[in-house]
Subunit: 248 residues, 2 copies
């Protein structure tokens, strides 16, 4: 019998973002596990399945539990918001997996916030972009600062994950100051989305100078345009190139 | 009556990657349009719907046709591979949309190659990353070169879209040389995926030095690790941080 863990990216938090593949993995699994909020999202669809929910900080325990449970003979779906790989559980599960050589791990991708939030704003990452997390829980701040500076020097569009939390109330302001200091124009078109795919979904477009003085929460994702990004009739659009060859 | 264009990201090319939202938009539409290959993918599911397929280079015509057809009263789904926004059609449709003020444009995100290819390899973009296209059709090569150099200086994981074509046979080699010149180790863990979600799907892990001398085609996506990326039991994994606080 196959011993299997699916690591499933669910998208931003509404069933409409589930892929057919994600749904099939949830159906195939005997046990659904993950952070409490996401287990609640899927257990409503499959009320008869066994569940195992853990608080946010117990991620490695959750990965180990999933592998142990699969080794014991049950197919497990470990669910993540967004994509399974982007700051997700696929990495730690695969790092632990060699300790469970009989267990097959299948990673199932999902719609990460850069895509779902981008769709709400328009097309902010229509050309080359970077994704950077402002959380310094596992990453030294100097690494984050250097990445912000290099992203600015490369004229990338930038998507910021984890732009703020209670303990990091001023991190977004610090990040904006690094970009401004690296020469990004204060008039650069930026966007914020909040609660994508959930009650209270909202998005807005603003300048980098305005973004610097904006207070966000941990349910937000931030988009900072490149030099070519435009605000056009309420949409944030980064053209797919230096469109001289196209007649729009 | 609502006059609407859905710009729909289908994922890499198999129905299993469709989101529920994408499928609902295809069902709601009266006309399915896009590049021939993707129209063929969806028209098989909805054989009774009107279709309009155009060759690859006629993208702006296709966007305009979609908006004109919606203005005429038909709901249109303009389909793209991967995500609707990432090098996709959402940008040009939204740039043209102000010429069609009665038409509502809804962007529907999808699983882009960085996510679907990443899942095949393991978790190559588990931490901060850049996405860069090597196509210089719409972007000067100097811009691409600068972005590669800044990505290297920022120690990002890098995903390369459009790594090669007939006309750009040596671009991947040039890109690898730029990264090596910027100080990226030739032993950096890299990955290639090809035909994700399609017949002939394949993936492999190799070093940056090996990647430099590899010939790929336009159906490939390339992943170049950061300094922390590991090859572990056949998987490419970028840990979610400088994991000192985690006990794996």
């Amino acid at each position: 019998m196959a011993k299997r863990v699916y690591v499933v990216g669910l998208g931003p938090g509404d069933q409409k973002y589930f892929t057919a593949q994600a749904r099939a993995a949830l159906e195939d699994a005997q046990v659904l596990c993950g952070y409490t909020v996401y287990v609640d999202l899927v257990s409503g669809l499959f009320p008869d399945k066994e569940t195992y929910a853990t608080p946010m900080r117990r991620e490695i325990d959750r990965c180990r539990w999933a592998l142990e449970t699969a080794e014991g003979g049950k197919t497990v779906a470990l669910v993540c918001s967004g994509d399974a790989g982007v700051y997700g559980m696929a990495g730690p599960v695969l790092q632990l997996a060699p300790q469970f050589p009989e267990v097959d791990v299948e990673v199932i991708p999902g719609v990460t916030s850069a895509l779902s939030g981008g769709a709400l704003l328009g097309a902010p990452i229509g050309h080359d972009f970077c994704v950077i997390s402002l959380s310094d829980l596992l990453t030294p701040w100097e690494v984050i600062e250097n990445r912000l500076r290099r992203a600015a020097q490369g004229d990338f569009s930038v998507v910021l994950y984890n732009p703020a939390s209670h303990k990091r109330a001023d991190y977004l302001q610090k990040a904006c100051d690094i970009l401004l200091d690296a020469g990004v124009s204060p008039n650069t078109v930026c966007g914020c989305v909040r609660n994508t795919g959930r009650p209270g979904e909202e998005s807005r477009i603003l300048t980098l100078a305005e973004l610097r003085d904006t207070h966000l929460d941990m349910f937000s994702t931030v988009f900072i345009g490149s030099s070519t990004t435009q605000a056009d009739h309420g949409r944030m659009i980064t053209p797919r190139g230096y469109e001289k060859k196209q007649n729009l």
